[in-house]
């Protein structure tokens, strides 16, 4: 084989990555637009396109007064749109965090919830629901805020339990994450027992979903998730090198403890932001990184953006399915992701078994 071919392939790979990202972004946009069409109220697709087009500068002025009714516009723009965008944001955040945690822990079972984010958020949300702590505070819904705070407190505790001086060994981190999660889950269980009539709301939150998401929720989490994922992306190459082991990474010039700290903070932040409005949606953060790694390889500089876009599209689709599959009742989206994720995970395990001949 011509040796020059290796270099050419290497550099061609980068342009392939770019093309792939563009295609996936187009797919994401299409998914969002198409899923606007999904819902209890039947709204013709052409009407939806008109409603959207009206919102686009220049193009909007070309469309004259048409047959768009006010309720239809409201359903699309005020109910379906924020909810779909929230789904995309949450899918993106959980996938990004999944990539980060699998990279740091070098463990295929790691997901955004390993550090107790989920359990912390669950305690916060359950407290808000069960005790109805001023359901609105200064006109702001307190439940997402409590969930957000709960998850950050949990991660803070886990991080400090594992800290040895200035170092944070990943094994200890993983184990204390599990320990704290178990403890907090027990508190959630107690809250469920005393929840009484509010039990339904707690359970529904725990299964995760986007019903009732409004624009202000989207605006609240958008900057957190955007800034968080961008900062995470700055450390993509360090994540590659971390897969060689922390000591080797150190020898290759990576400031391991600092990088780990930054990644853990922002990984937790985007997860907490996502969980605060969506509840606990499982499997996305675990399986999207695996799928994309099979698709495009382990290089985090492409794995991370690809996972973000794929995760966003996937959750938008799952949410669309959740809205209509047993219509008029809406399923929690966490049920759909778990239903599709479980079998997928088994498939993944089987495939791995074959390829390693175990």
């Amino acid at each position: 084989m011509s040796t020059n071919g290796v270099e050419t392939t290497y550099f061609r790979r980068v342009s392939r990555w770019k093309l792939l990202l563009i295609i996936l972004t187009v797919v994401l946009v299409l998914t969002i637009v198409l899923s606007l069409n999904v819902g209890f109220a039947q709204i013709p697709f052409s009407t939806i396109l008109q409603i959207l087009a009206k919102r686009i500068p220049f193009l909007g002025s070309l469309i004259g007064p048409s047959n768009i009714s006010y309720p239809e516009e409201r359903i699309i723009l005020e109910i379906r749109m924020p909810r779909i965008l929230a789904g995309a944001l949450v899918g993106a955040a959980l996938s990004a965090a999944g990539v980060v945690y699998q990279g740091i822990f070098k463990n295929p079972m790691a997901d955004p919830y390993v550090l107790g984010v989920s359990a912390g958020a669950a305690v916060g949300a359950s407290l808000a629901i069960v005790f109805g702590i001023g359901f609105t505070l200064f006109g702001v819904n307190t439940m997402p805020i409590l969930a957000f705070a709960g998850s950050l407190v949990a991660v803070f505790i886990v991080y400090n339990i594992s800290r040895v001086g200035s170092r944070v060994p990943v094994t200890t981190l993983l184990l204390s994450g599990i320990a704290v999660s178990i403890f907090l889950s027990a508190i959630v269980a107690i809250l469920q027992v005393i929840a009484g009539k509010k039990l339904h709301a707690v359970v529904f939150w725990l299964m995760g979903g986007f019903s009732g998401v409004e624009w202000k929720d989207v605006w609240a989490i958008l900057p957190l998730i955007f800034i968080g994922t961008v900062i995470i992306y700055f450390f993509a190459r360090d994540l590659n090198i971390l897969s060689l082991g922390e000591e080797t990474a150190q020898n290759l010039g990576v400031d391991v403890e600092k990088v780990k700290k930054v990644l853990l903070i922002f990984g937790s932040l985007v997860t907490a932001a996502a969980v605060s409005i969506s509840g606990l949606i499982g499997f996305i953060g675990l399986m999207i990184p695996h799928i994309t790694r099979i698709m495009i390889g382990p290089d985090h500089r492409v794995l991370l953006p690809t996972s973000i876009i794929v995760g966003a599209s996937f959750l938008v689709i799952c949410d669309a399915v959740a809205r209509v599959i047993v219509s008029p009742v809406e399923l929690p989206v966490g049920v759909i992701t778990a239903l599709s994720g479980g079998p997928f995970f088994i498939y993944l395990l089987r495939k791995k078994k074959e390829s390693y001949g175990v």
Partner: protein, 454 residues
């Protein structure tokens, strides 16, 4: 000027001290071997030099700057490490891995340029791994993997290369190739190589100097001739070894002879009649088994003579290539008469050493059991026109025991030893009995005397 200086460092794992007051300095073009037994602190020394394990006391300077005051990127530009085990979490290709060596030279937002890929290619060609560039690292063999990792380290373009047992997964061919490459880089580019070795001979062949560690302390440091001595090896490894200059490579080589064991307590002493290498292995086995071994007559420069010197076995010797004189014959007879058994190996007999058989005859006459090993029939090694053969037949008639090989001999010696012990035990017990009886008699007597006194 010393590029790397380690100034009296102490390192701890928890409360266990693994390095104590280690000082060293390395200059450009130095190829230093770090040697020592398992757990002596070799890897720890590399870890603390590579800015991974901060010493509790002492400073490590790289070009006069304390490395723990530098950022890891700055250190990584000047120093690369080839660790012992390389487990990689994801399926990166060999080229990906080598390009990671360029990390310290890239800024956070930079992608690898053509220059970086060219450097990766060069180092991969040097380590003979370019053909593996597209293969996932985890699918490569241990040796291929090791060479890719060395390529990664070289891609860092370091001034100092630290290696932890770089040849442990490599076959002989790759060992030499890798070491030759390192040596070449050391000589041509002034690369400093500091490597942990378990293979003393490999280290001796390539290193200019060595550091011998034991129990976290430097036992010896400096030129190979000064470090690799049998005394040092005995002190550190409790192994008897011979250190010699190899006639072809002109480097030192070490042959471990045996573990230093507490000597077995055997009563039996064996006198060997051997020569021309026929007694070499037997001497070693007998000495290890704890027999008191003597040998003779042997000519100086004979292989068996040299072995005996090495094992510190008393020998009656004769001048090189000379027949046994009357005087040496007598000395040998004297030596033999103290032995409790005589063994004649399958040594060739000529007129020069024929008298050794007369000694054996003498032994039989004095009642010393005599064994003849007949691995090679006497006709094939008799250069005395049948005289030696005649002697042997005579020995046989006088009660010499003929054995086929060493193992048979050793089991017979065991039996002889047991017999000897039994008679000794008996003789030691019997007087004991008498003694206690006499004691009681005495007591009786005393009692009697007392009673008679009263």
């Amino acid at each position: 000027m010393a590029v790397l200086t380690v100034d009296s460092i102490d390192c701890y794992y928890g409360s266990v001290r693994v390095l104590e007051n280690v000082c060293l300095s390395v200059e450009e073009r130095d190829f230093v071997g770090v040697l020592g037994p398992n757990g002596s602190g070799k890897t720890t020394l590399l870890r603390s030099i590579s800015r991974t394990l901060k010493p509790h006391r002492g400073v490590i300077f790289l070009n006069d700057v304390d490395i723990y005051a530098l950022k890891s990127v700055e250190v990584a530009k000047q120093m690369a490490v080839v660790p012992q085990d390389n487990v990689i979490a994801f399926n990166f290709t060999a080229l990906d891995i080598v390009l990671m060596g360029r990390n310290p030279h890239l800024s956070r937002f930079q992608m690898e340029s053509e220059k970086d890929v060219a450097i990766a290619r060069k180092t991969m060609e040097l380590t003979n791994t370019w053909h593996l560039a597209k293969r996932p690292l985890n699918e490569l063999s241990g040796g291929e993997k090791q060479r890719v990792i060395i390529a990664r380290a070289l891609a860092q373009e370091p001034k100092v290369l630290l290696l932890d047992e770089p040849t442990v997964h490599l076959d002989i061919n790759n060992q030499l190739e890798t070491m030759d490459l390192l040596k070449e880089l050391c000589i041509k580019k002034g690369l400093i190589v500091l490597a942990v070795f378990h293979d003393f001979n490999l280290a001796a062949r390539y290193c200019d100097s060595a550091i011998l560690l034991n129990d976290g302390k430097i036992i010896s440091m400096g030129n190979l001739d000064a470090v690799l001595t049998s005394e040092n090896i005995r002190k550190v490894f409790q192994v008897d070894a011979v250190v010699k200059k190899h006639p072809i490579t002109n480097s030192l080589y070490i042959i471990p002879i045996s573990m230093l064991k507490p000597p077995l307590s055997r009563k039996l002493s064996v006198h060997l009649i051997c020569g021309a290498g026929t007694g070499t292995t037997l001497m070693k086995i007998l000495a290890e088994e704890g027999y008191n071994v003597t040998a003779g007559v042997l000519n100086v420069l004979d292989t068996d003579y040299e072995t005996a010197q090495l094992l510190k076995i008393p020998v009656t010797s004769e001048a090189p290539f000379s027949p046994i004189t009357e005087e040496t014959y007598k000395v040998n007879l004297e030596m033999m008469s103290k032995a409790s058994a005589v063994v004649i190996t399958a040594v060739p007999f000529g007129y020069a050493n024929l008298r050794n058989l007369e000694v054996a005859k003498e032994a039989l006459e004095r009642g010393i059991p005599t064994f003849v090993i007949e691995e090679v029939p006497i006709e094939q090694r008799d250069f005395t026109k049948g005289k030696a053969e005649k002697h042997l037949t005579e020995l046989k008639s006088k009660g010499a025991i003929f054995v086929k090989n060493q193992n048979e001999l050793l089991s017979l010696l065991d039996i002889l030893e047991d017999k000897l012990n039994m008679t000794k035990e008996l003789s030691s017990k019997i007087p004991g009995h008498f003694k206690s009886e006499t004691n009681s008699c005495e007591v009786d007597e005393v009692d009697d005397s007392k009673s008679s006194n009263f």
